[in-house]
């Protein structure tokens, strides 16, 4: 493994993040505060509690996941698409690095940025609601795995995309609806029975349910299923990336 190259890619990608640190910090704080104002206060005044947890606190894991998933995808897809767009990818392709090292560098940096924002949102939430984290290790594991797996997905999108419009296609048309319908702002048990069944086909449900369990011990689906779902998702992304690596799809002519 060319660890020096991985470190070089990681550092270069993180530099982009540090250049706009204030934006990276302020924007999640602002959007989380808005969610608390709109959902926590307006809706929370009508829904007092969900399964024994105040509504404001109930939506925190979902809010963190919402930002973490979207940021992981956008960071990673942008990270690899930008060199393709600018033409600087020639250097990556002609360097003594293999695709795994490129993936580790880019995905690692994208996941780190998303993780940072996730932690900022978590810290911001403590100003609005009383938080408790019953299973801190599980919480960290879910958070890190989500950052990594969705960064892998973002990387695939970045490789696939041939213009900026395509970059936002998957996040906006697929991921955002799945997150909003995945129990970010409500418990599955609040839905009619038919919708409960349909919702179980949404993979994000497992992610948010497992993450919420690590906070309050509450879950819509058994936590083992959540863990299996995220592992299966990560595995699928890795398999697709492995195939891209083997065939040079959209990278090498």
């Amino acid at each position: 493994m060319n660890w020096t190259a991985i470190a070089a890619i990681y550092r270069f990608e993180m530099a982009r993040f540090f250049r706009t640190l204030a934006q990276s910090f302020l924007s999640p704080v602002l959007s989380t505060s808005l969610y608390f104002v709109v959902f926590g206060t307006a809706i929370g005044s009508r829904i007092q509690e969900v399964e024994g947890v105040s509504y404001g606190a109930f939506i925190v894991p979902g809010l963190i996941m919402l930002s973490v998933v979207m940021l992981s995808i956008s960071n990673a897809s942008f990270g690899i698409y930008f060199p393709k767009f600018l033409g600087t990818i020639y250097e990556l392709l002609s360097a003594p690095v293999n695709f795994i090292e490129i993936v580790i560098g880019y995905v690692g940096a994208a996941a780190t940025k998303a993780l940072f924002v996730g932690l900022v949102i978590l810290a911001t939430a403590t100003f609005f609601v009383d938080l408790r984290i019953e299973h801190p290790f599980a919480m960290a594991a879910f958070l890190i795995l989500s950052c990594l797996s969705f960064s892998l997905l973002g990387f695939i999108i970045g490789i696939w995309a041939s213009n900026f419009e395509q970059m936002s296609l998957v996040p906006q048309l697929i991921v955002t609806p799945l997150i909003f319908l995945g129990g970010t702002f409500y418990s599955i048990s609040m839905l009619p029975p038919l919708w409960q069944t349909i919702t179980l086909f949404n993979p994000v449900v497992y992610l948010i349910s497992g993450f919420r369990w690590s906070f309050y011990g509450l879950s819509d689906v058994p936590v083992v299923f959540s863990l299996l779902a995220i592992i299966a998702f990560t595995g699928t992304c890795l398999a697709v990336i492995g195939w891209i690596f083997k065939t040079g799809w959209r990278i090498r002519s």
């Binding site: 470190a7 530099a15 250049r19 003594p96």
Partner: protein
């Protein structure tokens, strides 16, 4: 001399059937400067990108310092630096950081002194803290060279380094190349300017339609390329060339009103003065005089037919 780069029957075909390289074989000696001449679309860039790992070859073999570019790609690529034709740089990044990234990508540890040395040589030291977008086109091209040199390559590819740059920068570029040669770096550059090949190369390869037509010592090739023609147009047509002009090896055109004289621009004496004197002495009157140099394409054709003969 040892061979540092060996290319054997390299072919590249695309899905649509287009053959960009049709079996190129070439050996490049350590420390030499090879200029690859060819018109646009000849396959120069494909040849370079294939050696560097950006394009996957359809068949054939390439070794760099004895390392196969596919089975032993890490060792092979460590020896290679590439300066691409297009300016491809991240606009918001600082000069220093982008050069440091290049060094890291090739697996070399931090060496600020080395990067400083490269930046100073390329007159980029003062600009090291500037974002790329603040630099002029010429400076950006220098940054590309700095990036290619950051990992101390033994073989450097310069893909049309002077395409679209002004005369001053072109001269600078030639000086940089000469200095790299002094450091023992093997340089392969592509160009479609004959004068560029003439100014800096040791050997010249001519590539067209994916085929390497020939590789020759520069001086030999330039002697062939240096041929120029002068057309002496007469006021009255003549039936045959006067005997007094026989020494000039002239040819008469079909209409008989034009004498064509071929001379070597590199020769000490071109023979033009004595030709014009002799024409006048022969009692012929001039209507006009025109000189003509073969275009690059004509030279290619001449070279190929010359090889075939």
């Amino acid at each position: 001399m040892t061979t540092i780069l060996s290319i054997r029957d390299l072919r590249k075909s695309y899905a649509d059937g287009f053959e960009a390289l049709k079996g190129v074989s070439l050996d490049i000696e350590e420390g030499e400067i090879l200029a690859l001449l060819g018109p646009n679309g000849a396959g120069k860039t494909t040849l370079i990108t294939t050696i560097c790992g950006i394009t996957t070859p359809t068949s054939g073999a390439v070794t760099v310092g004895g390392h196969d570019i596919q089975s032993d790609y890490r060792a092979a690529r460590r020896m290679i630096g590439l300066v691409p034709q297009e300016i491809a740089l991240e606009p918001f990044e600082k000069v220093w950081n982008t050069v440091r990234l290049s060094r890291g990508l090739f697996g070399l540890g931090k060496d600020n002194a080395r990067i400083e040395d490269i930046l100073r040589k390329l007159s980029l030291w003062e600009k090291r803290k500037n974002a790329i977008k603040e630099l002029s086109g010429g400076m950006k091209r220098r940054v590309l060279i700095a990036k290619a040199l950051a990992h101390e390559p033994r073989v450097l590819f310069l893909d049309e380094p002077t395409a679209g740059v002004d005369v001053e920068l072109r001269k600078d570029m030639w000086e940089i190349v000469a200095e790299l040669k002094r450091d023992g770096v093997t340089i392969i550059l592509t160009t479609h300017y004959i004068e560029e090949a003439e100014a800096i190369a040791d050997r010249v390869g001519v590539i067209d339609k994916g085929e390497l037509l020939l590789v020759q010592d520069k001086d030999t090739l330039m002697a062939q390329m240096g041929k120029k023609q002068i057309e002496v147009m007469l006021t009255e047509p003549i039936a045959r060339i006067p005997d007094s002009l026989a020494i000039h090896n002239l040819t008469l055109n079909g209409a008989g009103d034009s004498l064509i004289y071929t001379y070597d621009t590199h020769a000490d004496r071109t023979g033009i003065t004595s030709l014009l004197n002799d024409v006048s002495q022969a009692g012929l009157f001039l209507r006009d005089v025109q000189t003509r140099q073969s275009s690059l394409e004509e030279i290619f054709v001449n070279l190929v037919s010359g090889e075939a003969a």
